[in-house]
Symmetry: C3
Subunit: 211 residues, 3 copies
């Protein structure tokens, strides 16, 4: 989730993103009535899974999170907080979703720019950025025994792909790194928040699905 010399600001943003994603994973586990270990695993998988998937695919193993204990402690903290205070967190779900949008914006841009650093072209890099943003949530849903919610109409992956593409394209046009990242993250964040507030939906196939 980091590029060669990440600034302190970037690391903090990254950890906040992991924390918020991990809370979403832990809330799913609580609702499925899993035990404390299930809560911690879903927190960890949701917070770190997207980055792990990206690192394995671009051969940046071992994933950064395995070499920095802060990346491991943050999902544990998120899991324990959720385990203890889930009724309160459940009532703040709207707020959690706003933070989650920030996490998505950060992850898609950071993931895409890391893939560029590892030599991938613009399109694959943008797809890996999107994967970094949505991968953890997909693993969460598979482990919790449900079809990934991002396949069910809500606009979630499209903003991530758009933000990643913007960041990669600006970076390619020699726009300074920080500016390219900020522009991409803003595109993703604004689109995602607007989708949530306006209830925008992705189109579904028309007509009956013949079996």
């Amino acid at each position: 989730m980091t590029t060669p010399e990440p600034s302190a600001t970037l690391v903090v943003l990254d950890l906040v993103g992991i924390f918020v994603f991990a809370i979403s994973g832990a809330l799913v586990a609580v609702r499925k009535e899993l035990d404390v270990f299930g809560v911690l695993v879903l927190a960890g998988v949701t917070g770190l899974g997207g980055g792990f998937l990206r690192d394995v695919l671009i051969d940046a193993a071992p994933p950064a999170a395995l070499e920095d204990w802060r990346y491991l402690m943050v999902p544990v903290a998120a899991g324990l907080v959720t385990f203890l205070y889930h009724p309160a967190l459940g009532r703040m779900e709207r707020l959690v979703n706003v933070f989650d949008a920030f996490g998505l914006a950060l992850f898609c841009v950071a993931g895409a720019l890391k893939a560029v650093d590892y030599g991938l072209g613009p399109l694959p890099a943008a797809l890996l950025g999107m994967t970094t943003g949505i991968g953890g949530g997909m693993m969460r849903d598979v482990l919790a025994g449900r079809v990934p919610v991002i396949f069910r109409g809500e606009l979630y992956a499209t903003p991530a792909l758009a933000g990643a593409l913007v960041a990669v394209m600006l970076d390619r046009a020699d726009v300074p790194y920080g500016l390219a990242a900020a522009a991409g993250a803003t595109v993703c964040l604004v689109w995602r928040l607007l989708s949530m507030w306006r209830g925008w939906q992705a189109p579904v196939p028309r007509g009956s699905a013949s079996v």
Copy 2:
């Protein structure tokens, strides 16, 4: 999905295989009433997942598909075609299954020979060839929330393993590469088509399953 200097023919065959696999993934998504993004993801995962899994396991990362935009565009095209014309495709399922058998034959042989190129022994290489052929479909089913259909009686993995073994063994016996590949693919294809037409089934355990 490619060996060092793949001929144009091989690339075309490979892309056709990905296209057909991707259509099978997109059809599952349509039947599960997923949105357009779910359709595209299941198309991509089904078309490319087996090759990704193989490349990660033999440490050939980043997977070839991430370095060649054609490999990424083909599942997108298959997904969009299915999204728009799924009623017609659903009616042609038998034809889709025949193409799918061609895809399986190609993937199992190409995957096995790539594993040999990366230094694996004959048996692991054949298993990775089979994995290349069936991995995408397994990921499709897990993401769609169902037990992989290839565990449910239909003969699908066995022909893939047989074809991969034939190709690897002939390659080891210094038979020219193209001939070894063609022989292996033929074994897989004929066996798979015969199974479909005759309704051959894999054996299931006998007796009640004590819980």
Copy 3:
């Protein structure tokens, strides 16, 4: 699943662990009424999946099991035995669970010490040890279409994490390798067996889960 020059004893123990894990996977497949191929795949995934996951994450690809045919034959044997004799095995489930505890103890320690050899710090190494022990069972459950059983109250992952931590810490304190491994494995084994016999459960979240 092996360190640089594994002794014959270690290899035998490792193969026994894979065999027992593979039987647990095959039994799940039989109960889900999968065909013989499904039984073999679930046997292989359960026996080898945890080690594959670890090797991919620490970039020790290709996984050791792909370079040693014995590691591939053991799950096949376990799958065939279960396919043929599952009623008898089902009646011996308590015994299978005891062997499974031995497998868990072995895998968590061997996985953690291998991660140390690959340069990971103590905490990530212990987590990877736990992952080696529980990863195969999690994949088994996802492929069989159920939420991983280890999220459902039974104490399984905690003993694995504790055993891995003990082994890593003693190894760091320059305790001889064999002694560190034995101590870690004993901690895991005793804790797991006691949990089984006393019916210890992991805590679950309190209060209703607001949706």
